[in-house]
Amino acid sequence: MKVSYVTPLDLAVVVVIVTAALTLWRQSLVASLRALSLQGVGLGVVAMVLGAHRRDPVLVFVGVLVLLIKGAAIPRLISRVVARDHPGREGSPLINIPASLVGAGLLTLLAFGATRGLVALIATPAARLIPFGVATTLIGFFAMVVRRRAVSQIVGLLTIDNGIALTAFLATSGVPLVVELGVSLDVLLAVAVLRVLAGHLHRQFNIQDLDQLRDLHD
């Protein structure tokens, strides 16, 4: 039984980390949106596998919930913003693509180094994958710093949340339901607010490149 649950778990986590790298790699926004939904699905699968392994029905239910929200609901919310983003392409991000990929690699190495203590402490087979969770968060953060488009910043933010949720699932035997509900509700609301703001930015002020937003300075 042990062999069986580890491989799908590894597979799902790899899906999450690869989709995070995709947001950095691909320029077209539609592609990064699809990567985001794939990432949500992967996260949901991880939760379900863990839930099944620990025979914890709550965790399975949470997995399904995550799958629905992060896999389907949020991408559809953002799709309208992507539609209104005219070139639909990233254009030239602040740091060119190869350099940012190297950066993502370095960040992953850093994540491995930083979580060595944690992995040693928990010592469950799932714990081996915690650095991937932290790496996804770092990559998401890096994506937000590098990318100019409003959509990519939203995607970066969601990648960070997915990374943290992944770390949470792997490191603990599941966060209490109330907390999990609260967190996902917050994420959902945050995305809704961002969608409205992005709408204003595009429609009212026709700002595509966020670097133009420099009115407020000292």
């Binding site: 960040l107 930083a114 890096f142 100019r148 000292d218």
Partner: protein, 666 residues
Amino acid sequence: MTRLLALTVVAGLAAIAWGALSSRARVPLSALALVVSSAGAATLAVRVLATGTNFAWSQTNVLPLGGLDVRLTPLGALFVLVSAVVAIASSVYWTGYARHAMAGRSASASFALFTLSLLVVPMAGNVTTFLFAWELMALSSLILVAHDHARRPESISAARWYAVMTQGGAGAITLALVGLAAHAHSTRFSAIATASTHLSGAVASTFFLFALAGFASKAGVVPLHVWLPKAHAEAPGPVSALMSGAMVNLGVYGIILVGRTLLPQGPQWWWLVVSLLGGTTAAVGALYAATSRDLKRLLAYSTSDNMGLVLLALGASGLSLSTQHPRVASLALATAMVLLVNHSLFKSTLFLGAGAVHAATGSRNMDELGGLSRLMPLTSVTFLVGALAVSAIPPLNGFTGEWLLFQSLLHSLASHDVASVVAGTLAVAAMALTGGLTIIAFVKAFGITFLGRGRTERALGAHEATFSMRVAQGALALACVATGVVPYLLVGVVARGLAGVASPSISGWATLRLSSLSGALTPLFLSGALLGALALVAGWRTLVQRRHGFANVATLEAWGSGRHHQSPQMQYTATSYGEPILRVFDDVLRPDRDLDVSHVVESRYYLERIRYRASNEDVIERFLYRPALALLRAWARRVRVLANGSVHRYLAYGLAALVVILVILK
């Protein structure tokens, strides 16, 4: 005793309330309350001085986190008494002055608050109360300095300088007192004093230097004196009198509090620093007093100068204490107190006089005044008494101070220690130079403002001050004369004030006799002899006149080598009077003068316009403060790039911080 304290505080608060709220008879009512409050404080001080015991009273749940603690030592009582006297005079003066300025709600309330806080600062027993009263004093005087902001733009910059430097000074004092309190594990001064014995040398010295910086800036000592001429010149009459007569003393009170009571066994170099600071302040203050054109700026610089002399005496006392000459040390300390009290008396007379002149003519620039003594007879007499007192002319109280300072420096030179000898000689040199320059400053101040002929319509249109202003000025001038002729009034009070800190060193009713040191002076007999001689010579002159049949004095037009018309503009002005000194000391004062001549286009021989501009700004401000402010502004401009508006940059800061944390905590 507690009833007196309650009276002082309640009357003070009443004054503030009347000042802020009542609209009818606002000034007289709050002035009356202030007089009652100062009288209460004065009686409390006198009772503490008489009995020699400390008066203590504390209330823990007032003043959060620190508690209110009042502890009036004889030393503090001396300062309270002086502040009370000056406060009473200023309040009485204020009722008359309010017709001209300072009648508004904020002005009256802050004047009352300023007076109350002045009385409370020396009474503080613990760090929190001291700093609370100290900062209240700073805030209320700041409002008063900025009082005339609508009409005079200079008062805005003066208020800014004053606010920043007082806050800086208060910061330094807070650090020192808080540091000492931390070591003594209690904020009470008594506890700090006992716990200071086992403070390590280096720590005690750092705290002393911080406290010295803070208190010296309040006393207008040189590197940190820049605010004083600006604030005093811009503050209205009674306020600048209170500032010079009482607030500046509290700077000296602080130095004595930290230097002698809290950290009694200070090393010798502390007091060398104090006397060097004192010497330079005296010289710089006197120089700028001699060459300044604005009457109140002149008086303000002379305040710095006198505080420099007080510091000289303090330094001499500390030096001789550290070379085991206790008698000379107590003499020098008593001299410092005598100089201080004298200064409070004559400087407040002068500032009240200057206030009256400003009220009458609306100008403080001496070059626009002149010939006021006929229009303002009593003010000119009181101003003359003040001016002679500052220049230490015999019958008045300044002379006793200078004589005592000379004696203490002379006897401190008797010791063999090289440091005190060098300091002593420089001190005498500084004292002498300032003596001469003060005479120039005050002959100019009195002569150009009051004597000669009115130079502008302002001067010609002047009118005598109102009755209450004259009463206040007269009372203070009489005090100067009284303490000059019978010095025991002053020396007795000072000796009792220093009971705790130093042994009595000056005795004798009519004659000042230095106990166990050779030196005596009898101002009473000297004044008597002078009066007698004056009468003799006057008699001779009238006798001779009558014998040769000239009934009265011929009033003729002044001799101007037969010139057609002698206009008032041909008289010497304050600028020209001080110009020789400016020229002699021009490498020290570095006045900037520029002469721009514009020629007629057609031929260079004909001049269209010649413009000569000379300004004699404070050299320390120009070469020390301006570069520092420029540096600060440059730093601020460079840092502004940090917030250039790009959200990516802001997020990058966060990512960098996250990476650093992860790297460090591996």
